[in-house]
């Protein structure tokens, strides 16, 4: 590649990066917020929206589902980038990860305030005695350092350790799937689907790492 084409290519990448930052990210930000907006409209009965018969259950289901979905979507970014040769996707990863944290946190807070109603005896007992709640709570706790270290400054400061730390998300996603699986009564089709996708996304990483290790 001569200098001229390299410069052209770099310019194209810079241009695309600018487009992603300028247009795609704001649009994606709004799109990712829609489930939350829908809950708000439902909670206040605006524009005909409601929360169904069991309002608290609806809030719990929606926030939990989206928390897990955003975890899986975030995990999918790196594989998608490689499969489709789309380096710009990485620019979206932090926002998607933070949305995962946002919905998981909402899921926890609405459990605390709306479902349990700050009934501390029940809350402590549930976290200690109900494995599926223990697992969910652990996943939330593990997400906190990732959210806190998601800034550019923290990335710089942690250097190589940042990447190791953020590999926690692999385990967190599996905990999330497990949490979902264990609260299902009989029909495991939906959590099984999440598990299958997660296994593919993690399996692909393992395969890539092994290949790199085998032929440097």
């Amino acid at each position: 590649m001569n200098d001229a084409t390299l410069a052209n290519r770099q310019a194209a990448i810079a241009n695309r990066s600018h487009l992603v930052r300028r247009y795609l990210k704001p649009v994606l930000f709004v799109v990712c917020l829609l489930p939350f907006v829908r809950l708000l409209l439902g909670a206040f009965g605006i524009a005909g929206f409601g929360l169904g018969t069991n309002e608290v259950e609806t809030v719990q289901d929606v926030t939990g589902n989206w928390g897990l979905r955003f975890l899986v979507i975030t995990l999918a970014i790196t594989p998608l980038r490689d499969w489709f040769d789309a380096p710009w996707l990485i620019q979206l990863r932090r926002m998607l990860g933070l949305y995962a944290f946002f919905y998981v946190l909402l899921h926890f807070l609405t459990w605390l305030f709306l479902d349990q109603g700050l009934y501390w005896a029940g809350i402590g007992e549930d976290i200690a005695k109900r494995p599926f709640i223990t697992i969910g709570f652990l996943a939330l706790l593990l997400l906190i350092p990732l959210a806190v270290t998601s800034t550019n400054g923290m990335m710089r400061r942690l250097g190589k350790r940042w990447k190791s730390l953020h590999r926690l998300v692999y385990g967190i996603t599996l905990l999330g799937v497990w949490h979902f699986w264990w609260q299902v009564k009989a029909d495991i089709r939906e959590p099984a689907l999440y598990l299958a996708i997660t296994v593919v996304l993690l399996g692909w990483r393992a395969w890539k790492a092994r290949r790199r290790f085998a032929s440097p």
Binding site: A47, V59, D115, D126, R130, P131, Q183, A186
Partner: protein
């Protein structure tokens, strides 16, 4: 016939529950508007309350002695928030997917340890009994609850007509198997058909009830039309729906949820705040209809029917027989 209307000019009372209250009426209007609005912006039905089709009027008297003094849940909530896996696993699925189910004509097979056996038209099973209304609490094993005005007949009185023999220690019930009309039965989420059972003394208890209606009207399909069991001191899943077979047995019959997860769902399934489900607490429950900010309420032993049914289980270890 199942459907009775007072003759014109007769003195038959119109039950308070037969009259649509103003709040329900107004609610319906806002709900219809909401449904329209939601339709415009393309929102799924789980987010709005769909309008429920109502059954035919029934003639009955209210059994005050066996009814709660609590305000029943709204008809719409009772008929659009259901666990009836034969029509799908989501709470809104039964109301959405039961439109093709045909609850008439209906026959029930009586079999097993009884002198009178055979296939009976539902009308013939109901005929000798006067329909009564009973307002019962319903506690789901998932820790939510409702108050429901059922219409039906006492189970014990029905069972006695078939003259169970001394070998009849249990009563087993079976739900209809119609995958063509019940889309949930096309997947083995549970072992189909759904089966349930009671010990004979439980079945003969005055609270045990066979419902054919609610809110003064025939049961909607999603609530177990045309005939379902109601045992208010037990978790809701004991209340088997769309019953086609009643069998008297000598041995404890298998039950659907116990087959699916034996360490989570026992044969007895009595409401008990002191015995938790392995995965969640049964100490408190969410009363449907309280809105987003209502607190859970404590669950009562035997769902508040302790005085009436505790003697059935005297001496039994309720942790073992959950």
């Amino acid at each position: 016939m199942l459907i009775k209307r007072p003759a014109p000019g007769s003195s038959a009372e119109i039950q308070p529950s037969e009259i649509t209250s103003e709040s329900v009426y107004l609610n319906r209007r806002t709900l219809l508007q909401a449904a329209l609005a939601a339709g415009v912006v393309g929102i799924g039905s789980a987010w709005t309350k769909p309008a429920a089709a109502e059954g035919a009027d029934l003639k009955f008297t209210r059994n005050d002695a066996l009814s709660l003094n609590e305000r029943p849940n709204e008809y719409l909530d009772i008929t659009t928030y259901n666990n009836f896996y034969e029509f799908g696993i989501d709470k809104s699925a039964p109301a959405q997917n039961s439109g093709h189910f045909r609850p008439t004509p209906w026959t029930v097979t009586i079999d097993g340890e009884a002198e009178v056996k055979g296939k009976f038209a539902l009308e013939d099973i109901l005929k000798p009994h006067a329909l009564e209304e009973r307002v019962y609490r319903l506690r789901c094993v998932e820790a939510w609850s409702m108050v429901i005005p059922w219409v039906g007949i006492p189970l014990g009185a029905v069972l006695k007509r078939f003259k169970p023999t001394s070998k009849a220690k249990y009563v087993a019930f079976t739900t209809v198997l119609r995958p063509a009309e019940m889309p949930g039965q096309r997947y083995p989420v549970l072992e189909w058909p759904y089966v349930e059972g009671l010990r004979i003394d439980e079945a003969m208890h005055p609270l045990a009830f066979l419902a054919v209606g609610l809110y003064g009207k025939t049961l909607p399909n999603q609530n177990g039309a045309p005939l379902r069991l109601v045992t208010p001191w037990k978790y809701g899943f004991k209340g088997i729906k769309s019953i086609v077979e009643i069998r008297f047995t000598e041995r404890e019959p298998p039950t659907a949820w116990n087959i699916s997860a034996p360490h989570e769902y026992g044969f007895y399934a009595n409401v008990n705040p002191n015995v938790d489900h392995p995965r969640w607490s049964q100490a408190r429950e969410r009363r449907i209809g309280g809105g987003l900010f209502s607190a859970k309420v404590p669950t009562q032993m035997f769902n508040g029917y302790e005085k009436e049914v505790a003697s059935l289980y005297r001496g039994m270890d309720l942790r073992k027989y959950y």
